[in-house]
């Protein structure tokens, strides 16, 4: 079911929706074309699925296209992705050539139709070459933590990025030295999507039962792709430290994405680490599992996002929205979403995570208080309505370079 602006108004209030409509009026018929590398899986595709519809309802013609690429291309872009996150990767000239060749192929088959073209992440960044032909305004939206990138790779991507009109990063920490304006736009969740909407208790019970999870015992859950940067092995280590003294179960659930070729290898490592422990539930879920993910989080006692690097980590906001205390790695967008000691805890190691899990398992009131705080934090800062507003403002900002105050009346 597609939610309407009136549905969102019930959550965020009339003032927020009125403001969106006013800004949409000022966008004045200009269209926005989003381009990324995958239609399913991962936070970017999830956001676009709903955001495009919201902008359309606001009267901003908004579309979404996906570039094409073979396995070799996605192996290269995964390595580039990791390297931009700061993970050491060997990037050869041959790999960069694969990137360039796939970009060339996409340049031949893609249609650029938007007045403003919003390119998401490094995979389609090379499409900026279109600019010479079609003009338009071009925005590069980086969803990755590029605070400590492998410089060889950043310098490669930078040659494309600096040709854009502006770049968008999720956090100030990710800002770069660039000759173009840079905007901060945090990611967001859709409170009315299947992944986040309210669920009846029996639906939650049903899902827990389906996967053999005991709803009467404490449940720790991490929802994320099977990716080393999400540190699933660190989560298992933290769980084992807790289990020496306290009872709990661990759920590691996530999907895979076509542009993530590493997933299978990491899943095998997780299975090996979980070994014969029946209280560790490793669930590889298909892309259509949003309702089940919703139920798993709602049925949890504590939610984890113990990433080592993180572009944003929307699972944190998703859990906070369900009033769960969240323990997260002190990296990337997680630092923005967890107010340490208020909505959850930021940690730096499996030992630190274990310590906080123990503390929260012992203190129901603390869990409830953090859950309530987290819900308010998300409501004010990380809902899709704010994201739609920021994208429209970014479109308008391109018309007013260098002005700190823009009159729109």
């Amino acid at each position: 079911m597609n939610a309407s602006l009136l549905d969102y108004q019930e959550i965020v209030g009339k003032g927020v929706i009125d403001e969106l409509r006013t800004i949409a009026d000022r966008v004045n018929g200009r269209s926005l074309q989003n381009i990324n590398s995958t239609a399913v899986g991962g936070g970017v595709a999830e956001i676009l699925t709903r955001l495009v519809l919201m902008l359309q309802e606001l009267g901003v013609s908004s579309t979404w296209d996906v570039i094409k690429g073979d396995q070799a291309f996605f192996n290269v872009t995964k390595a580039l992705h990791n390297a931009l996150h700061g993970k050491p990767e060997i990037i050869t000239d041959e790999m960069l050539e694969i990137y360039r060749a796939t970009t060339e192929m996409n340049l031949k088959i893609m249609q650029i139709t938007g007045d403003v073209v919003l390119i998401h992440d490094p995979q389609p960044a090379g499409l900026i070459a279109f600019r010479k032909e079609v003009g338009k305004r071009w925005l590069w939206r980086c969803h990755i933590d590029v605070s400590q990138p492998q410089m060889q790779v950043w310098n490669f991507i930078r040659t494309y990025v600096q040709q854009y009109d502006a770049a968008i990063f999720s956090m100030p920490d990710f800002a770069q030295q660039l000759p173009i304006p840079q905007f901060r736009i945090a990611a967001s969740i859709d409170p009315l999507s299947d992944k986040n909407k309210p669920l009846e208790k029996h639906c939650i019970e049903q899902v827990l039962e389906k996967y053999g999870i005991d709803s009467r015992r404490p449940i720790l859950t991490q929802i994320s792709r099977f990716d080393r940067l999400k540190d699933p092995l660190g989560v298992i280590e933290a769980y084992r430290l807790v289990r020496r003294r306290q009872d709990c179960q661990l759920v590691l659930a996530g999907g895979s994405a076509p542009d993530d070729p590493e997933g299978e290898a990491v899943l095998s490592e997780v299975h090996a680490a979980a070994a014969e422990d029946n209280d560790i539930h490793v669930l590889l879920l298909p892309p259509s599992s949003d309702l089940e993910i919703n139920a798993l989080v709602r049925g949890s006692t504590i939610v984890m996002q113990k990433s080592i690097r993180e572009g944003f980590g929307l699972t944190v906001s998703e859990a906070s929205w369900k009033k769960k205390p969240v323990i997260g790695g002190a990296v990337g967008g997680i630092k923005l979403q967890i107010i340490d000691g208020v909505t959850g805890f930021l940690v730096f190691s499996p030992e630190g995570a274990a310590n906080r899990i123990s503390q929260l398992l012992r203190d129901r009131r603390l869990r409830e208080r953090m859950g309530e705080n987290g819900y308010q934090h998300v409501r004010q800062n990380f809902l899709m309505t704010r994201h739609a507003k920021d994208y429209m403002l970014a479109m308008l900002a391109l018309d007013h370079p260098g002005e700190s105050v823009v009159n729109l009346w």
Binding site: I23, F169, D173, V405
Partner: protein
């Protein structure tokens, strides 16, 4: 007295990243001499606009960073204590922050202490988009009727943005009420300290002053 109607404005903000950062106090000082006025305004004012379910210890980002990332508590308190109401321009505000920082560095033995990697101060600024908010007020009665209905962003614009960033000597409300021949209520509003209360409280205080004034 005949006066042009008061047009309520509101603002939406897009955060602009400068790419500038500081890891220690000398770097912070160096950057403070170079960043835009908009950047200084952003780091001393935007927290007032955020709805807080947990109030921040300081509303000044420089103070929060000095405390949280460098454990320079004394400096943090001094930066937060800068009297924003007594300051009438961004230039003056920048000089005041720099003077506080310089004084601290002169007597601090740990002036080169660096923050943890990932805790750097990142300089931002805001691009403000100003829009009309609701119907214009033709007289003080209409004006005070509108006040409780306007958004916090509207109050922020007319009381903070206009006074300091746009360098007006008072807030927009007092300026218009004075022009409308209502200088006594204009002065009372001017005397409210917007930095000592939340935007909700400020709005209610103005509305209450208005109700009292109109009953006379």
């Amino acid at each position: 007295m005949s006066v042009e109607p008061f047009v309520f404005r509101t603002e939406a903000r897009l955060v602009v990243l400068t790419g500038r950062r500081a890891r220690n106090l000398p770097e912070l000082l160096d950057q403070l001499t170079q960043v835009s006025g908009s950047c200084i305004f952003y780091h001393t004012h935007y927290l007032y606009l955020v709805q807080h379910f947990v109030k921040p210890r300081f509303y000044n980002d420089f103070a929060n960073w000095a405390s949280h990332s460098l454990q320079e508590e004394r400096l943090a308190e001094q930066l937060a204590a800068i009297d924003l109401l007594a300051i009438t321009s961004i230039r003056e505000l920048r000089e005041s922050i720099i003077a506080t920082l310089r004084k601290h560095l002169e007597r601090s033995p740990n002036m080169n202490r660096e923050c943890r990697t990932g805790d750097e101060f990142h300089f931002c600024e805001a691009k403000s988009f100003i829009m009309t908010a609701g119907p214009a007020a033709r007289d003080p009665a209409e004006f005070f009727e509108q006040i409780p209905k306007v958004s916090n962003a509207c109050i922020h614009f007319h009381c903070f943005e206009a006074r300091l960033r746009l360098e007006k000597t008072t807030n927009d409300f007092s300026q218009w009420l004075t022009a409308a021949g209502e200088s006594s209520i204009a002065k009372k509003i001017d005397k409210l300290n917007p930095y000592a209360m939340t935007l909700d409280e400020l709005k209610m205080s103005i509305a209450k002053l208005g109700r009292g004034h109109l009953r006379k």
